[in-house]
């Protein structure tokens, strides 16, 4: 006789109590009592469940091999509770159908399968377009037709915007072409592809630069010429670039958008890069100084679509940019996410970050003109005025440099005049100054004052010159000055102090006051008789 007669209890009472009974025989007796009595189904199930548990699950419980014809519906229900593998369940279902084909058993198995599949679906992020999710918003990207269109698009090639100034490529354009060449060569080898470097030229009369783009590493050049494009303007430049790389259709451009884009991080390049990447519905890593392409393991669920899962994204452009004013570097990745692509992967590049490659005059490639009509309304903003910054003084290009030092201090204006007069005697000559003159408190008359600028400074913190003839008047020759001129072919020093250091690295030393020597030198040169001056002076 068991401790508890189930027939004496409500099912509600039995539930908790039966959990404490571990004796198989006792449970068998209770089952017999219940079946002999009211035979309430739930109670029978309850006791059977407990019996199954107590008697050990192992026994014949391998769902793949168990003989279902030997199992009750309850056995099967218990068995499948622990199975999460849909395939195993389907196998069980098939065997049940071949066997007893009990409706109760099948429905339980099917239900379990359904449950599992539903869970799987729940783990995926429900996707709804932004308009549905935020009906209250006047969505800012509504007017961009590609916002929702770029999913699983096809992307190829690296497009490089080659900025020009006054009809010539600027250095950073060459640097980017070289880097793009290197990156795409590595890319094509690594992924067994044949994608190209496409150079983009926009401006007035830029077609002539196409050859140069090829020489620096482009496979193809696309250019657009229009006299209205002689200066950078946001609207037409952006529209042209986007049309070239997204909408325009020469045969080879059979993809949706570029895979990669590069822009110079110049004033204009920064503007253009942001506008183009925005229009192409991608991101931008601005002001980068390092680029490489490799795979990236990403676990961010926004990108993988599944929380807790890591996914490897291939062919990712890694864009390194200095942060915190260059004290740290961040690497920016631009990666597709479910239901929205982020291509092209684009960067703007700090000028000087990469080497200018050797130009290859033999390089071959294709050049295409992007010849479409530009609507007048793109040009409604006019450039009314612009200024050209002075080129500055370039002493380096001269055959002769006449340099003045603090020896002019007694009569600074007169000293400058004498220096300039000597400069005028030579065909290719200009005036240099020591730092001492530029930082002095001398008062110059207006007609010579314009010459006293840092641009004319020769030395460590100024220009380095190596002319055929360097005439140093009233300069003592401190080391900071020396490094700016001692590679000159011939150095003539004029100084009142025979111990002045400049004497040590001059070819000719004239001991004397520059106020006397310079006029004589000028006069002699005019008469073509330099020897007259040099004669009578020690050849040091």
């Amino acid at each position: 006789m068991p401790e508890m007669d189930p027939t004496d209890h409500d099912i509600a009472e039995l539930g908790p109590k039966i959990k404490d009974i571990d004796d198989e025989a006792e449970l068998e007796e209770m089952l017999a009592l219940e079946e002999g009595g009211e035979g309430r189904d739930p109670v029978v199930t309850l006791i059977e469940d407990r019996l199954q548990k107590v008697s050990g699950d192992d026994e014949g419980s391998d769902p793949a091999s168990i003989d279902l014809t030997e199992s009750t519906i309850a056995d099967i229900a218990n068995m499948i509770r622990g199975i999460d593998d849909v395939e195993v369940l389907q196998d069980v279902l098939e065997r049940e159908k071949e066997g007893k084909n009990r409706k109760g058993a099948k429905s339980r198995i099917e239900k379990k399968i359904d449950d599992l599949q539903e869970n799987d679906e729940e783990a995926e992020i429900e996707y709804a377009p932004p308009e549905e999710r935020y009906p209250e918003l006047d969505h800012p990207t509504n007017d961009k037709q590609y916002v929702e269109g770029t999913v699983d698009g096809e992307y190829r090639d690296m497009w490089v915007y080659c900025e020009t100034q006054q009809g010539a490529l600027i250095d950073v354009s060459r640097e980017m072409l070289g880097k793009a060449r290197e990156l795409m060569d590595g890319y094509n080898e690594a992924y067994d592809e044949s994608e190209t470097v496409v150079a983009v030229l926009v401006g007035d009369e830029v077609a002539d630069l196409a050859e140069e783009c090829l020489a620096y590493g482009a496979d193809r050049v696309v250019y657009h010429e229009d006299e209205r494009l002689d200066r950078f303007r946001h609207k037409p430049y952006t529209e042209i670039f986007c049309h070239m790389c997204r909408d325009w259709g020469p045969g080879w451009r059979d993809y949706h958008e570029p895979r990669y884009t590069l822009f110079p991080a110049t004033n204009n390049g920064r503007d253009l890069s942001a506008l183009v990447q925005g229009e192409l519905d991608s991101g931008l890593a601005s002001d980068c100084s390092g680029l490489y392409i490799e795979a990236a393991d990403i676990s961010n669920p926004a990108k993988t679509g599944t929380p807790g899962e890591s996914r490897t994204f291939e062919r990712v452009l890694h864009m390194k940019r200095p942060d915190f004013s260059g004290f740290e570097y961040s690497t920016i990745l631009c990666i597709d996410k479910p239901h929205r692509d982020f291509h092209p992967q684009g960067a703007s590049v700090i000028p000087g970050s990469f080497e200018i490659p050797e130009a290859d005059a033999e390089a071959e490639g294709e050049v295409f003109e992007h010849d479409t009509d530009l609507p007048e309304e793109w040009f409604h903003i006019e450039v009314t005025d612009y200024d050209q910054l002075e080129d500055g003084v370039d002493l380096a290009g001269n055959e002769v440099v006449v340099a003045l030092g603090r020896g002019i201090g007694e009569q600074p204006t007169k000293g400058m005049e004498l220096g300039l007069e000597l400069v005028d005697v030579f065909e290719e000559a200009d005036l240099g100054l020591s730092r001492g003159v530029i930082t002095a408190s001398y008062e110059f008359d207006t007609h010579v004052e314009e010459y006293v600028t840092e641009e004319r400074q020769v030395g460590e913190s100024g220009q380095v010159v190596e002319p055929e003839l360097y005439i140093a008047a009233g300069i003592s020759g401190a080391i900071q000055h020396k490094v700016g001129m001692d590679e000159s072919d011939t150095i003539v020093a004029i100084n009142t102090d025979p111990d002045a250091e400049i004497r040590d690295f001059s070819d000719y030393y004239i001991e004397g006051d520059l106020f006397e020597v310079l006029p004589r030198l000028t006069e002699a040169l005019k008469e073509g008789e330099l020897s007259r001056v040099v004669a009578g002076v020690d050849d040091d």
Partner: protein
């Protein structure tokens, strides 16, 4: 808007020994600490004569904060300490080892580039663990304020940074201390100017010529008649493979006598006495200069305002007591105490009291008593009075005084070695010049040697320094000779009749008038700050990574 600025619990400005000790102490207690250093490397802006002490009585010493300091970062220990009183070719040498070893656990010679960059590595390691770290090439240019309260710092290179405490360990020319009104550049008599040459010498030669073991060293001081009556003295310390030889003068005396610091250094270098060590060889590795606060007058007894706490030279914490000069050790102690004060304040839940706690700790731990001895304050008024000086000078110089001195031979040495008596030494010609000269004359032995070494001239010294010239960081407000002419002589990289220096005298004609003016080129600047005191300038440090870069320091 300011809420968007990055915030750290503590910002330490300057990675010298004071800043390093403060940052390390903070970081060890888990305080999120950012250290900002304007040099390209810690130590590249830092110069000191070269001795660091570990005092027995100090609550923090450099090796208690940084394990392995002596093995890794310093040069030779200083076991012996002498002063040479020079007069007319005679020298009287006194052994000051007793006073040198008084309260001294150890004392090592150091070169700051090596020392500070070693410290900085440790500091960066420790601070990184708290979420902070050490950034070089960043010049802090001012205090970030909110409703008038100091809440952080502003920098040339990066965005402003907020902090619960700002430890300004930015050196003798601390811009933060001046902005907060805690220090000034007004009185030349609160400052010394030190000029130093690091001289290359083979370690074996050092051992032999100085009579020391390979892992031991010595300090020699010099005073007497070799400095044209300018109040101050010279020093020579032995490093591992070099010597630090320098001179330190009262800035007011230097300015008044229109003395040229590099010439005074040369007077020491070429003195016959030095021949026994230089032996006719001289190769100068580096020329450097530094302004040194005189803590007796300049140390701020309450070096804090709001969240700003000053540490080390920035607070004038540089003790010069007669021939004993202690700066770095006090900076280390003060740095540790400032950190401790902030940690305590934080535990109490009120970080605003850190400054008051720091001030109290400086007193309780005996730092302030060393920096501003009461004995000095009492005797100063009397003995620095001009008339009294004159009388004392005459007295010492008189036959009576000289006879007394002879009788006192031995007693003098004992007197110099008394920390109590040294605390009273007034800063007058009597102590610096007359007494040593008379000592030398009456008790000295004749020096027979000849010293014919040739130190480099100023142009070569400037040329040998490494600069990254940025925009001019000093503006000459008054170019008249009356206002700023002293800078031409007092500036260690300028001189009369030298056109390649920072400050130059010029005669200009204006509307027929001939005037004497001064022009300034900041290119050769060694950032010592002398001209900020003696001339009419607007003085700032160059931007981070710019300006002079010392390799030895």
């Amino acid at each position: 808007m300011t809420d968007e600025y990055e915030h750290f619990e503590a910002v330490v400005v300057g990675a010298g020994p004071g800043g390093a000790a403060a940052a390390a102490t903070l970081a060890e207690q888990g305080v999120e600490t950012l250290v900002l250093e304007r040099g390209v490397d810690a130590g590249s802006k830092n110069v000191s004569g070269g001795l660091i002490y570990a005092e027995k009585s100090a609550s923090y010493t450099i090796d208690s904060v940084f394990d392995g300091f002596r093995e890794e970062a310093s040069e030779r220990p200083v076991s012996e300490y002498y002063i040479h009183n020079l007069a007319g070719g005679k020298v009287k040498t006194l052994d000051l080892s007793t006073i040198h070893h008084h309260d001294t656990e150890w004392c090592d010679a150091v070169l700051r580039r090596k020392m500070d960059s070693w410290l900085a590595e440790r500091v960066h390691e420790k601070c990184s663990e708290t979420g902070g770290g050490l950034l070089t090439d960043v010049r802090v240019n001012g205090l970030l304020r909110e409703d008038g309260d100091i809440v952080g710092v502003t920098c040339d290179e990066i965005d402003p940074i907020r902090a619960d405490v700002i430890l300004a360990a930015d050196g003798v020319n601390s811009e933060l201390a001046r902005e907060a009104g805690l220090m000034d550049w007004d009185d030349p008599d609160e400052w010394f100017q030190g000029v130093k040459a690091v001289v290359d010498m083979d370690p074996d030669a050092i051992d032999e010529r100085f009579g020391v073991d390979p892992d031991d060293g010595v300090a020699h001081l010099f005073s007497g008649d070799l400095f044209e009556g300018v109040r101050g003295g010279g020093f020579l310390y032995t490093n591992e493979d070099s010597l630090s030889i320098g001179t330190v003068f009262h800035l007011d005396s230097l300015a008044e006598r229109r003395a040229e610091p590099h010439e005074l250094l040369d007077a020491l270098l070429t003195h016959p006495l030095l021949d026994r060590w230089l032996d006719g060889e001289y190769e100068e590795r580096e020329y450097a200069a530094k302004l040194v606060p005189d803590s007796k007058k300049a140390a701020n007894p309450s070096p804090h305002r709001g969240r700003l706490l000053l540490v080390g030279d920035a607070a004038g914490q540089m003790q010069a007591q007669g021939p004993i000069i202690k700066g770095m050790n006090h900076a280390v102690t003060a740095g540790g105490l400032a950190a401790e004060a902030f940690i305590e304040a934080r535990t109490r839940g009120d970080t605003d009291v850190a400054g008051d706690l720091y001030e109290r700790k400086l007193v309780d731990e005996g730092v302030m008593a060393k920096l501003r001895p009461r004995r000095y304050r009492m005797t100063r008024r009397l003995s620095e009075n001009r008339l009294a000086t004159k009388v004392a000078g005459c007295l010492v110089d008189s036959l009576l005084g000289r006879t007394g001195m002879k009788l006192l031979d031995g007693v003098v040495e004992r007197a110099f070695n008394s920390p109590f008596l040294l605390g009273m030494v007034p800063d007058t010609r009597t102590s610096y010049v007359t007494v040593p000269r008379v000592l030398g004359e009456t008790l000295g032995e004749r020096i027979e040697a000849e010293n014919d070494i040739e130190p480099p001239d100023l142009a070569d010294r400037i040329g040998g320094l490494t600069y990254d010239v940025g925009d001019p960081h000093i503006e000459l407000l008054d170019e008249s000779h009356e206002a700023s002419g002293t800078a031409v002589t007092a500036c260690p990289v300028s001189a009369e009749d030298f056109g390649g220096g920072c400050y130059r005298s010029e005669t200009v004609e204006r509307n027929g008038d001939t005037r004497q003016v001064v022009s300034l080129d900041t290119q050769p600047c060694v950032e010592c700050g002398t001209c900020a005191v003696v001339a009419d300038t607007h003085w700032e440090h160059p931007a981070g990574g710019n300006g002079v870069e010392f390799r030895d320091g």
